[in-house]
Symmetry: C2
Subunit: 656 residues, 2 copies
Amino acid sequence: MTGGSNRVESFPDGSDLEASLPLPTPSLAPLEVHKVSVPHELTTLQYFKQRLCEVFFPDDPFHQFKNKPFLRKLVLALQYIFPIFEWGSDYSLSLLKSDAISGVTIASLAIPQGISYAKLANLPPVIGLYSSFVPPLIYSVLGSSKDLAVGPVSIASLVMGSMLREEVSPEKQPVLYLQLAFTATFFAGVFQASLGLLRLGFIVDFLSKPTLTGFMGGAAVIVSLQQLKGLLGIVHFTTKMGFIPVMQSVFEERTEWAWQTVLMGLSFLAFLLIARHISSRSPKLFWVSAAAPLTSVILSTTVSFIFKAQNHGIKTIGHLQKGVNPPSVNMLEFQGPYLSLAIKTGIVTGILALTEGIAVGRTFASLKNYQIDGNKEMVAIGAMNMAGSCASCYVTTGSFSRSAVNYNAGCKTAVSNIVLASAVLFTMLFLMPLFYYTPNVMLSAIIIAAVIGLIDVQGALWLWKVDKFDFLACMSAFFGVLLISVQMGLAIAVGISLFKILIQVTRPNTVILGNVPGTNSFRNLIQYREATRVPSFLIIGIESPIYFTNSMYLQERILRWVREEEEKITKFNENSLKCIILDMAAVTSIDTSGMEALAELKKILGKRSLELVLVNPVGEVAQKLSHSGTWDLFGTERIYMTVGEAIAASSYKSKI
Amino acid sequence: MTGGSNRVESFPDGSDLEASLPLPTPSLAPLEVHKVSVPHELTTLQYFKQRLCEVFFPDDPFHQFKNKPFLRKLVLALQYIFPIFEWGSDYSLSLLKSDAISGVTIASLAIPQGISYAKLANLPPVIGLYSSFVPPLIYSVLGSSKDLAVGPVSIASLVMGSMLREEVSPEKQPVLYLQLAFTATFFAGVFQASLGLLRLGFIVDFLSKPTLTGFMGGAAVIVSLQQLKGLLGIVHFTTKMGFIPVMQSVFEERTEWAWQTVLMGLSFLAFLLIARHISSRSPKLFWVSAAAPLTSVILSTTVSFIFKAQNHGIKTIGHLQKGVNPPSVNMLEFQGPYLSLAIKTGIVTGILALTEGIAVGRTFASLKNYQIDGNKEMVAIGAMNMAGSCASCYVTTGSFSRSAVNYNAGCKTAVSNIVLASAVLFTMLFLMPLFYYTPNVMLSAIIIAAVIGLIDVQGALWLWKVDKFDFLACMSAFFGVLLISVQMGLAIAVGISLFKILIQVTRPNTVILGNVPGTNSFRNLIQYREATRVPSFLIIGIESPIYFTNSMYLQERILRWVREEEEKITKFNENSLKCIILDMAAVTSIDTSGMEALAELKKILGKRSLELVLVNPVGEVAQKLSHSGTWDLFGTERIYMTVGEAIAASSYKSKI
């Protein structure tokens, strides 16, 4: 059934055809009718192997190993697992200079942000510093991105804090809370690394961009609202995260608002936002916003020290313990009543951290024109969190804001992460006492300034303009996070996104095609308004695979098209309908229900003396039709390669 | 941006083109390049209206009401809601004669089956008769099928029995069990009618045929195994449903096997199966298997009466209460700890009953060439179950076996259901004492003979041949039901079916196209082995909508195609690659992530001096590309209507 063109010997010279076809002579259907081929058959094993390869190894990661001697393969494998061996051998002093500058720059941002984000997760500030030390070191060995700046990030911190707080109070049970945070981090790492090793990275793709836009916007609002506690100096603040309880709490505790705190907070917030605004004007001015947080920490600490701020109701960080990360393996809890909470939190924060880390890595890789292997990155990020959980770190990933600064500061390799870690180490060993007078309100201002950039109003408006359904998913995530809970917002948005795919498969488009004048092409009449119908033919394009979910719908919808066409013909007294042509070019897959629907449709139309003709069944569909006997049911005289050939052949047949 | 063909004035005479293109002269690309149109814009409201109409009213049920006077509309509406008014006015004596014969025939089948199926659901046998009386009457007024024979069915009975028994024992708490059965029936009816009224009938389509094949096969095995209790005369039988506990129980209680029961059971089972076999040879002999159950009931009852069977260890049905259905409204329980069980059972049995009823209705409608409105049927079946639950009936629907007999016996309208109900009424009023001596083993034989036809080995083999994934879904359902539980089997199979759709959307096919010699068509090189590549061009067909779930994959996959093509070119020293053409004919939808991936791809390829050209974006995709600015990014000189035009124009451009 494969191959070859099949000249219809008895075909007339074409003059008859012209009369019945509105096609102009130069592009008239060729007199040859081409047999529709069926791809050569695969064995079940070959089929599954091919499908599995496409699902799990679409990027063919091992192609570089092909036809190489054994020793070379070994070196390549080592470089594959530890990318540091790949770029390490070419490392030079000039590269180190660039990396050192960018490393110090991101450290100045990472230290205040680390302390702030730890507070978002209801953890002691020093955990934020610990988490900016070990993970960057591990990532620099395993990671394949040259630009990623690793450390705690706002979204994952917020989600971890809100999920754990639902069951355990960080104030009343601080040790248990800390144990859970480390255990959740460990599970996040295990989950991330497994996704990478099992090459299931595509699970991350189920968080679509619109969903993330809405989710991050909602989370940013929630995070900012939480900072009202610090910004207004409120002592008795709600522990809830929702928009409504927080606003209630803010206004009920008006008496606790402290003007000194508010003044200081707003001034520094304004300073940070102005710095952000200046940097957004030109990438060259990136250092303005990069240096702003550390500058304001130093400034505010000095002010607070000189004016004895704590006497004026401004709370400060207080004593921070000196020294490097203490080990925390003994704090991992793999049993007890909170195990499922730790696993759940680990999976959710793990997937969010992955999404952010990989998106950031890809963004900067594409700016510098190199490729990131998603699955490899997952293993690197997972390993870094597993190791981190044993060294008093909580969930970390690549941060967007710090990676942008890293990129703009001219980083060349992951060495900038080593420099960052060294700077953090120096801070932990010698500079901890300096934070004693740093006001808490400063941390709130830093958090707000950092997350406010996540509220992407422009992006949401663009979604509204381009795709209403994406906008709906975005808004559901936003309001879900704001009004219900962070996790529910995420779940709703993912649900809506998947529902969209299913509804599209359940209720696919069918369109009526007509001939585009002057060509042999047949296109959607609504799209190409110059296209004309072919009398006696109804050409229907099916814009979807035919599955059990839509086979019944398609059958009914096609019969309705036929009914409407016949009503129109009666009304305008046109040539009676003879043949229904189904253009299957977009039917990329079919299942057994779909084939039965086609056979059923042929039978129903046959009873009304209408021909049903299939055009251009593609590879997999052709194969299945041929296997199932549907092909023989239609016969080669009812399956054509192009609509033009089908019309020409059918018109000719009806003449004899 | 719409309409019109756009003559490229400066186009050369074509002789140059021929040199660079392997297309033969007669079918050379026309010298006109056609602008790709964007469909005219819909407002948001129009768009949603159109989409909602397609989702909920694909069959346009109200088209018959258009342009009719008010009174006529009223009559049509009445006929729409109560189909009996449509066919009732033309009813004649000759139709009645046919309906009476078929009605009596199905009654002779329905009475023994009703009693047997009630036992499957762990209900008193008389409930099976009640359920064969009220529901057929209601269906005959509301239903639109002419062939459906309504009553209890095996699958729904089994599922109701197994779901309720998990929490309530029918032996220890018979009243509570009965209450739950009626309440579940009520909820099944509410659920079914709501699906119909809300026009959500497509939810039933999510149970694909392969899934159902596996599920029904598994359920048939489970049901048959349960009958071993009756067939072997075992007294202490397990209450579990699984394959393993039942087989254990059968062999552990070998001492209880009663040879008299076994002998009687096997003889009548053989009789029923032989009758079935005879009927399957020719539709004209349908009456053999239709009459067999009643014949064997009469025979076995006589034998049992004469030989005083109960003295030989053969258990009989015993006393059955005379009289019509007692009301059961007071037994519906809308509160208490078992409410959620009743709702869950109602929904699961309701959806299974709908699936069977609608499939049966459609099958026979298509044999007689009339249409069934799925949503209307759902309302009818739902109403019949709601009413039934108030009149001591449990879940009913259209039964496949009885409808087939009905059809073969020559039924013409739903009046055959009225005749069936009358015959059942007569039985309930006068013939109940006759069942006193009917042996229980007879009911087991009837059930086995009825469900054994549900095991569709041929169908499963066909699935294996045609579609491995469908076979996998089928087998999962089968073994899920057999080894885990009826509900889990169903859940697994639905999960697999949906997963298949998602994996297809997540990892879509991409194919390389080539020119089919002698035509202007470009087709999959693997399918059409005579097709040839066009030097310097890489033509990639994308066989899927581009969504967030696959945009990243497609981007990577296309880059891999490019890499592989470039490696091949280097190896064979061919013309260097200049242009990548994406054939978008099968890209029936795109979301914002998809458009970003296209833009990103263009950027990446642009950096390597490769052109990216889009061909034939269809309606919705063209609109979104144009809205989002992606269209302008590509520009009209990188978007063409056909692959041929794209190649011709690009080759020409590279010449100037």
